[in-house]
């Protein structure tokens, strides 16, 4: 019973307003006939309702009516509406400008990063070869360093002919100096001191007063490669290169490589195309070009795209070559002598065959040495250049650039934070002052508004 009372009480208010569904309306009506308590409750609500509606409210006096008309027909709300629109326009424009500035900033950072093609190059220099070939068998390896601020060198170029020290540049010291040293004290022979050095980036510089100075902003890193001058003997150097270049279109780059090799009177010895993980196309090409065209070819290949790696090698095989020549000459002398004896001696067939068999090992040795010399000649006369072409990985580029952008942003932010910490006392004072002034202004403004409206 209590439950029904509670339910009916909740329905009585809506019943009073005629807002019940037919079913609930009947329920309430029937209950009210039987329950005195609920009926009393209903009557009380009726009295409250009656009391409420006795208040008819205010009439709108002519003055009041005029004031209202002035308000909505006048400029007051139009000005406020215009002001609101203005604020909205200013807010949206400021937001759009801020986004645009952010894009410009990120874009310019990308442009700056991409310009620095020789990024963080490392230089390793090792001297191989013996006393005979000072600084001749040098191996340059160009690789990337994640830290572009400093570049490490395993060792400076040996202080030999044509060699010198390599410095490296960073943003603070854009110049590089390299020195050459005279080989006058080098007793085992070799090459006279070079007066020119070739910079791998393509510029040839002249030494002045034993110093070579690059131009400012020539690039953060300059690699110096010893330039080997001509000597009294013909050079026996096997030149080779191994490059990895990132290109936009591997197929087009392949065509370019073929054109380059043909124009240099060389040929394409090998070409392989592969698709690696991620759908990236890579091509491995091997070119053979005349030794005199080696450097030109290298320069042209660099222009195909972004050079990831370019290893240049010059192996001086003069010693081995000359040793073979000497050996060949020696064996030939012996062979000739035996052959001469064979021709002079009139022997029977058995004797002739015996002599012939004595010649055979010499002949074989001569053949073998000639083959080796031919091989050397082939490798020397035609330089071998391996080129790995990779399609540009935009994701990788983006990721690399993003790391650098993030690093720079972090630097900027930490600078800002430090600045803010230093300025904190002043800022707090300014904020408090602003708040107090704003509060005073709002009070005055509201008071004036109310006065003018009335």
């Amino acid at each position: 019973m209590m439950f029904i009372h509670a339910k009916i009480k909740k329905l009585i208010s809506a019943y009073l307003d005629g807002e019940l569904k037919e079913k609930d309306k009947l329920l309430v009506e029937n209950h009210l006939k039987e329950c005195a308590e609920c009926k009393k409750y209903y009557q009380e609500l009726e009295r409250v309702s009656f009391a409420l509606i006795q208040d008819k409210g205010e009439d709108v006096s002519p003055d009041l009516e005029q004031r209202i008309r002035n308000n909505f027909l006048g400029d007051k709300y139009k000005r406020e509406a215009k002001m609101k629109n203005k604020k909205l326009i200013i807010g949206i424009s400021s937001g759009a400008l801020a986004i645009l500035l952010m894009f410009i900033f990120v874009g310019s950072m990308q442009g700056y990063l991409r310009k620095n093609v020789p990024r963080g190059l490392q230089f390793n220099s090792e001297q191989t070869g013996g006393q005979y070939s000072p600084g001749l068998t040098t191996q340059s390896q160009l690789g990337y360093s994640d830290n572009r601020e400093s570049v490490s060198f395993s060792r400076a170029i040996p202080q030999t002919i044509n060699g010198g020290r390599i410095g490296y540049t960073d943003e603070k010291s854009p110049w590089i100096t390299a020195y050459t040293e005279s080989a006058a004290d080098y007793s085992t022979g070799g090459y006279p001191a070079s007066k020119t050095i070739k910079i791998v980036s393509g510029n040839v510089k002249t030494i002045v007063d034993d110093q070579i100075i690059t131009s400012q902003n020539e690039g953060p890193i300059v690699i110096v490669e010893p330039y080997l001058p001509a000597t009294g003997q013909e050079e026996k150097i096997i030149r080779s290169a191994d490059a990895t270049i990132e290109v936009k279109d591997v197929a087009k780059a392949y065509d370019e490589v073929v054109k380059i090799s043909t124009s240099k009177k060389g040929y394409l010895a090998m070409a392989n195309f592969n698709q690696i993980t991620g759908g990236k196309i890579v091509a491995q090409l091997v070119l053979r070009v005349p030794k005199s065209k080696f450097e030109e070819t290298v320069d042209e290949l660099r222009k195909l795209g972004e050079v990831k790696r370019f290893d240049l090698e010059g192996v001086d095989v003069s010693r081995q070559y000359n040793a073979l020549v000497s050996e060949l000459n020696t064996i030939k002398v012996v062979y000739d002598k035996i052959e001469q004896k064979l021709k002079e001696k009139k022997t029977d067939i058995t004797g002739a065959m015996r002599l012939e068999s004595e010649l055979t090992p010499y002949a074989k040795s001569i053949e073998a040495i000639r083959n080796q010399l031919n091989q050397y000649d082939n490798l020397i006369s035609l330089s071998t250049i391996k080129v790995n072409l990779e399609a540009t990985s935009w994701k990788l580029l983006f990721q690399e650039n993003l790391k650098d952008v993030q690093r720079r942003l972090a630097q900027i932010l930490s600078g800002i934070v430090k600045g803010l910490i230093n300025l904190l006392p002043l800022l707090l004072t300014l904020v408090c002052f602003t708040v107090v002034v704003a509060w005073i202004i709002s009070i005055i403004k509201n008071a004036l508004n109310k006065k003018s409206d009335k």
Partner: protein, 191 residues
């Protein structure tokens, strides 16, 4: 009497006289509604002016499918809520109780028009009704005012207050409960 919808459509078509008709019809209900919510004549006047301004500025937004009165009360409701929020941000002024007092006391300044000025008024039921109404929570007050003073049905009240039918029933039920508890003892006493 012509229907609100018809007059409004005439106004939308460009008949300025239709606006006048609407204004005459609704100026008092709007004023009383705003005053019941805001308890301040100055604010109520402002809100009424704003209601008709919004009506003129957004007349094209009115759809004939919707009930005109509901639409207008919704505008008034929103403007009143904005006004209440704005008033809450204003710092109260500090007043001296009298000239000799050294201590300052914060005073809220109600509209003196509805304070009992005479002992006779103190015995008037309407004074207590207004006071009891003022004590109700805003949502309950709005619901009961729209129902008792402006005759809106529950569905329309729900549209104005942007709530469900069930919630409207509960709001009105609770408002009446509170008013019953407040007013009945006083009404018995006055008898």
């Amino acid at each position: 009497m012509r229907k609100d919808k018809e007059i409004m459509m005439e106004y939308k078509s460009g008949d300025i006289n239709a606006l006048e008709e609407i204004f005459q019809r609704y100026k008092r209900p709007m004023l009383n509604y705003a005053f019941k919510l805001l308890n301040n004549y100055a604010d109520a006047e402002d809100v009424v002016g704003e209601v008709f301004y919004v009506l003129t500025a957004q007349k094209d937004a009115y759809q004939p499918q919707a009930k005109f009165s509901t639409w207008l009360y919704t505008i008034a409701h929103n403007l009143c809520i904005d006004r209440i929020r704005k008033n809450k941000k204003i710092f109260p002024l500090w007043f001296k109780k009298n000239k000799t007092d050294k201590d300052y006391e914060e005073l809220d300044i109600p509209d003196t028009k509805f304070l009992p000025n005479t002992p006779a008024e103190e015995k008037d039921t309407s004074f207590f009704v207004k006071r009891s109404l003022e004590k109700l929570p805003l949502e309950q007050k709005e619901a009961i005012v729209l129902r008792e003073y402006h005759g809106l049905n529950y569905e329309d009240i729900g549209k104005v207050l942007n709530c469900s039918l069930e919630k409207v029933k509960i709001l009105i039920f609770r408002a009446r409960e509170r008013l019953r508890k407040e007013l009945l003892p006083l009404m018995e006493e006055l008898k």
